[in-house]
């Protein structure tokens, strides 16, 4: 019995939580990579690659237009005009959806490690299980142990118990709408600039500072390209600047967009983003996809075949 008690409930709870978090995080990392970075070879369920933007016509609203700039010179350099899809960049803006996404992003990985030991845990670690003095004839109050709650250094009766995870998922479509509504607000407030590509002439950080001040871009800038490998010059130039950040498209998220004043998108990023979001808004397997958000990814290990999780 003593041997059993040595493995305390706290250690069990901590081990269980760590296991859950590790499993969940590894599964999500797998999903994130298989969605966009790993190539799909002859995948008959890869509907995203065969999704045709031109076949899909938006019902309401007009497409928005945006200047396409170039980063070759410090001075503003407009090379063309591009149309942006209204279902991605001009939806009726809902601040509460953006708020939901921001709250989710900030709290889903939060763990509260507060843990107050109970009477039995205090006895286990620090002793004091015996009755301190006999029940009667001492002239003192009656006690069973020196670790009960009313004692100094006693256990806490109803305290915080063990690590508590705030992990939760908001529905898939709420997250998609978070992206579209944030992009809309940023676009309407003139904080989105579309750029032909990210080729700059030097790798000097001062070039970046001059571009930002001459073009009136905000202090903090988020530069988004389609792939995660960026040209050498811009990587070197922005490496030491903490408020100019490079990000691939698969990392685009609501919180980053709000924290950075300006959002720079390359043309290929805009195309890929439009395609992905229109696919997400019009997919016909929504039932299966939203079920994933509730229960998490469920790979089925059958001997006959491997189940491919819905992404």
């Amino acid at each position: 019995l003593i041997h059993f008690y040595k493995r305390s409930k706290v250690m069990l709870a901590k081990a269980r939580l760590a296991e859950v978090l590790r499993r969940r995080s590894s599964e999500f990392i797998k999903l994130g990579r298989s969605a966009s970075t790993l190539p799909a070879n002859d995948d008959q369920f890869d509907f995203l690659s065969s999704f045709d933007i031109k076949a899909h016509q938006a019902r309401y609203g007009n497409p928005q237009e945006v200047w396409v700039e170039s980063l070759e010179t410090v001075q503003p350099n407009f090379t063309g005009i591009r149309q942006l899809h209204q279902d991605v960049f001009a939806v009726y803006p809902r601040i509460d959806l953006i708020h939901k996404n921001v709250v989710w992003q900030t709290t889903y990985s939060k763990v509260n490690y507060a843990h107050a030991k109970t009477v039995r845990e205090m006895i286990h670690y620090f002793g004091g299980g015996a009755k301190p003095w006999p029940q009667k004839r001492m002239g003192r109050a009656r006690h069973g142990s020196i670790r009960s709650p009313q004692w100094k250094d006693g256990g806490k009766a109803h305290g915080p118990r063990g690590p508590k995870s705030f992990y939760h998922m908001i529905p898939y479509h709420t997250r998609v709408f978070g992206l579209t509504h944030t992009l809309t607000v940023k676009f309407i407030q003139d904080d989105i600039h579309v750029v032909k590509d990210l080729e700059i002439p030097t790798d000097d950080p001062d070039f970046i500072h001059e571009i930002i001040s001459s073009r009136g871009w905000g202090k903090s800038t988020l530069v988004v390209d389609k792939d995660d490998i960026f040209p050498r010059n811009i990587t070197a130039a922005t490496d030491q600047i903490k408020h100019v950040n490079l990000m691939p498209l698969y990392g685009l998220n609501v919180l980053s967009m709000l924290k950075h004043h300006t959002l720079i998108l390359t043309e290929s990023a805009v195309e890929e983003l439009t395609k992905k979001i229109l696919f997400a808004l019009n997919r016909t397997d929504s039932y299966a996809r939203t079920g994933l958000s509730h229960c998490g990814p469920k790979p089925v290990d059958l001997k006959i075949e491997k189940h491919r999780p819905v992404v």
Binding site: V91, I188, Q189, L258, T284
Partner: protein
């Protein structure tokens, strides 16, 4: 100016949106029940015998809703409603729209799987939905030539489909088969061999053996005759299926669920293989 444009104009005038000026929608505040008084251990009755001598107002029955306050509930009007088989309707208008917008391919036979997987016509077996009922709304503008298999149809619908040279069959699927057909990939990935379709229940048999209703269990010769009768009744040419054998020659056995797949087969999509039963007993069981 629309509401969207007004919102955009507002956004252009106010400061930049950031994490500090976000808010959620005002919610409804719910009053929490406190752990004392009416919600406490004694439920408002006190602790001593003297305190329990307050007998309550007239009609008090110890806490539950007294009979004079109970709302009138009619209990037995919908008895058995949960067990009734449902056939949610599909209008010919919506079917035509789906075909015109390339949601459904009219050059192949249409069955419950096609309709469900198009995403336009959902089917829920857990709500006792046994298939689709094709109704005649929009039959004046129905121009498509289809080979369609539904679970219920009336005379005018049948005439509207056959007027364009199409073919309609009315077939029964039990709930297990409906679940399999409505989400075929999910079923085929579950590792269960394809079951055989069950026969219709007695109270619905009149539909499926009647050639006038194009039942799947009716004699094909009688069904062909009924097509001519209906054509004469409504004044159009009876349909001929010889010139398009690809579309019209695919028929399902009464025990078959999927086109081209027999009951008893075990499908592996990942490995692109089919496992068929070898034992005679099994083969006989699945084929009858």
């Amino acid at each position: 100016m629309g509401s969207r444009e007004k919102a955009f104009q507002f956004l252009r005038e106010v400061p930049r949106l950031s994490t500090v000026n976000l808010a959620k929608l005002p919610g409804i505040s719910r009053t929490k029940k406190r752990g004392y008084g009416q919600n406490g251990k004694e439920r408002g009755w006190g602790t001593s015998a003297r305190q329990k001598m307050h007998y309550g107002p007239l009609g008090y029955e110890g806490g539950g809703t007294p009979i004079q306050t109970k709302p009138a509930i009619e209990r037995s009007y919908n008895y058995g409603r949960h067990a009734v088989k449902q056939f949610p309707p599909i209008t010919l208008e919506n079917l035509q729209l789906a075909i015109d917008t390339n949601r459904i391919d009219a050059s192949k036979p249409i069955d419950l799987a096609t309709l469900s997987c198009s995403g336009v016509f959902p089917i829920k077996p857990d709500k006792n939905q046994f298939g689709f009922n094709l109704i005649s709304n929009g039959m004046d503008n129905f121009k498509a030539k289809v080979n369609i298999e539904v679970q219920w149809a009336d005379e005018q619908t049948i005439a509207a489909v056959e007027r364009n040279g199409g073919k309609i069959t009315v077939a029964y699927y039990d709930l297990h088969s409906v679940s399999a057909l409505s989400a075929p990939l999910k079923f085929l990935r579950s590792g269960v061999p394809i079951p055989r379709r069950l026969t219709p229940p007695g109270n619905l048999l009149h539909m499926y053996i009647d050639p006038a209703k194009r039942g799947y269990l009716a004699d094909p010769a009688l069904v062909a005759q009924e097509r001519k009768v209906l054509a004469q009744k409504y004044g159009y040419e009876a349909p001929k299926y010889d010139d398009n054998p690809e579309l019209f020659e695919k028929n399902k056995d009464p025990r078959q669920i999927f086109y081209g797949l027999e009951p008893g087969w075990l499908i592996s999509i990942e490995d692109q293989t089919i496992f068929k039963p070898k034992e005679e007993q099994l083969k006989q069981m699945y084929s009858t």
